[in-house]
């Protein structure tokens, strides 16, 4: 009998721990994913876009060096800051419990988002061979 209150306290503590663990590993990552997923995918595109633009600007300076192409390159270099936004959001999501695997999956989804379009296109068009 004298241990009852300890047992109850232990149960309460265990329950709180379970709830906290569930919050940390399931609820929060899920909520964070839901909130930031689209923003994350958008930043994957934006970062990739500025990196592509930067490479194009660099190649343009190599192939057609002019005052304008140099200006474009400098602008593209500054544009790379967009990738910093991507990095920050990625780290924030990891800190809040979203796994790197899931983030990679979102990145892949963003890159290949349009692959389903092809199936829809084939489904909806009557091809004549």
């Amino acid at each position: 009998m004298k241990f009852d209150k300890y047992l109850i306290a232990l149960n309460i503590l265990a329950s709180i721990a379970c709830i906290l663990l569930a919050l940390k590993y399931i609820a929060v990552p899920y909520a964070v994913s839901s909130i930031y997923k689209e923003r994350y995918k958008e930043l994957v595109f934006a970062c990739d876009n500025v990196m592509r633009d930067h490479l194009i600007a660099k190649n343009k300076v190599v192939n057609e060096k002019s005052e304008q192409s140099i200006k474009q390159l400098k602008a593209a270099e500054l544009g790379l800051l967009t990738c910093d936004d991507y990095d920050r959001l990625r780290k924030k999501m990891i800190d809040l419990g979203v796994s790197e695997g899931r983030l990679s999956m979102y990145g892949l989804e963003a890159i290949e988002e349009k692959s389903e379009d092809v199936r829809t296109f084939v489904r909806t068009h009557e091809f004549k061979y």
């Binding site: 595109f45 190649n59 890159i111 290949e112 988002e113």
Partner: protein, 411 residues
């Protein structure tokens, strides 16, 4: 009406008809001169096959799903089917992972969960024939000038462009190769690393197609253990040359004088070689100048650069002048190779022609998402003035299509 009146009317009718015939003949003569001047060559004169004796063995390797794919079930034949005009009949190629490469082909393969590639499968007609030395949408195998362009740099595996081109799909991850530990280890883009992968594919072919490999070794006077992938590539290239060789077309018969154009075909030819100026780029023996232009076809699928972006030729040269450019499509049997464009985004030849002068009519701009709209605007900005033809009416487009059908032949 008395007899004299009837005779008079009949005479007028005959004179009118003969005038029409003379006009049509004169017009056809002028058009034929233009066709000849644009580089028309009879099909038989274009055939070349230095390794013809290997062609029958090439067929075995071309169709070897387990041999050609190191760790999957797909062969060249999977995506180059007779029933789809030597391609696969879908917008973006459906590659590895779609099931048995012998039975699951075309749309069925796509729906079966195959990994998608970013571009439309190219047809094989006339590949490797005389004057056909630029391969793939972005010309990443380009032997049209002494300075050969390939991803192998100076260590090109063969001096034959088609044999070199046959080296590419088998080592393309997602295409005929799935990513496993061996592939990950050798994925670094170096010629030395790729040699190990090619040798592994050659060894795989030796084990899966042992009889044909033995025959290949005999014909090349080699020991079977010394067979390399380039030996198999020569056989496959030989089969492609022979199987997909150009054959006599209606146009050829018209040029020879044994047949005439129909009225609609002649009108189409007049537009193709005249006001449509299609001949500016679609010239030469293969109806392609093998140069690169930006025609703003709608983009379908995720694109070579991801996110629905495909920079085309730029991916091969890294020259900004090549952004969004693709090789001028050769036109033999073009009616059989739908869908069209680098991402197969248009379904009919009529639409493919419209893409050259009224591309926005093929896109519902209000339904595009913001990134697609942004990309479309960019692509339009790069569109070549060379590739823009004058406005054609739907009837004129159909006439050009009828002319293009004179470039068809049966396998």
């Amino acid at each position: 009406m008395n007899l004299n009146t009837k005779t008079l009317l009949l005479s007028f009718f005959i004179i009118h008809c003969s005038n029409l015939a003379v006009a049509a003949t004169a017009e056809e003569k002028i058009v034929k001169e233009q066709i000849k001047a644009a580089g028309f060559v009879p099909a038989a004169d274009l055939y070349r096959n230095p390794d013809e004796s290997l062609s029958d063995l090439g067929k075995v390797f071309f169709e070897s799903n387990k041999g050609l794919s190191l760790n999957g079930n797909i062969s060249c034949r999977t995506c180059h089917q007779d029933k789809f005009g030597s391609a696969d009949g879908i917008p973006n190629a459906a590659a590895i992972g779609g099931g048995d490469g012998a039975t699951k082909v075309g749309p069925e393969r796509l729906m079966n969960g195959a990994k998608q590639l970013p571009r439309n499968t190219l047809a094989f007609w006339g590949r490797g024939a005389k004057g056909f030395d630029v391969f793939f949408w972005d010309g990443r195998v380009d032997f049209s000038s002494p300075k050969k362009l390939t991803q192998f740099g100076s260590k090109t595996p063969s001096n034959d462009a088609l044999v070199t081109a046959v080296h590419l799909p088998v080592v393309e991850v997602r295409e005929m190769l799935d990513e496993d530990d061996f592939v990950r280890k050798h994925k670094v883009e170096s010629v030395e690393k790729s040699k190990a992968v090619y040798q592994a594919i050659a060894n795989n072919l030796k084990s899966v197609e042992s009889k044909a490999s033995q025959d290949l070794a005999n014909r090349l006077n080699k020991k079977p253990q010394n067979l390399e992938y380039v030996d198999y590539a020569r056989a496959i290239a030989s089969f492609i040359r022979s199987e997909f060789r150009l054959k006599e077309t209606k146009l050829e018969r018209v040029m020879r004088g044994s047949e005439g154009f129909s009225e609609t075909e002649l009108k189409g030819a007049r537009i193709f070689y005249g006001k449509g100026a299609c001949v500016t780029c679609h010239s030469g023996p293969h109806f392609s100048d093998f140069s690169f232009y930006t025609v703003p076809f709608p983009q379908l699928g995720f694109g070579k650069n991801g996110f629905g972006v495909d920079y085309g030729r730029y991916n091969a040269t890294f020259n900004t002048k090549d952004l969004y450019k693709f090789r001028t499509a050769p036109l033999y049997n073009v009616e059989k190779t739908a869908p069209y464009g680098h991402s197969g985004s248009v379904n009919t030849l009529n639409e493919a022609i419209v893409a050259h002068y009224d591309p926005l009519s093929l896109v519902s701009v209000d339904k595009l998402n913001k990134f697609d709209r942004y990309e479309l605007a960019k692509r339009l900005g790069y569109a070549d003035s060379t590739s823009r033809v004058g406005y054609l009416t739907p009837e004129e487009v159909s006439q050009v299509v009828r002319f293009l059908k004179t470039l068809s032949f049966n396998q």
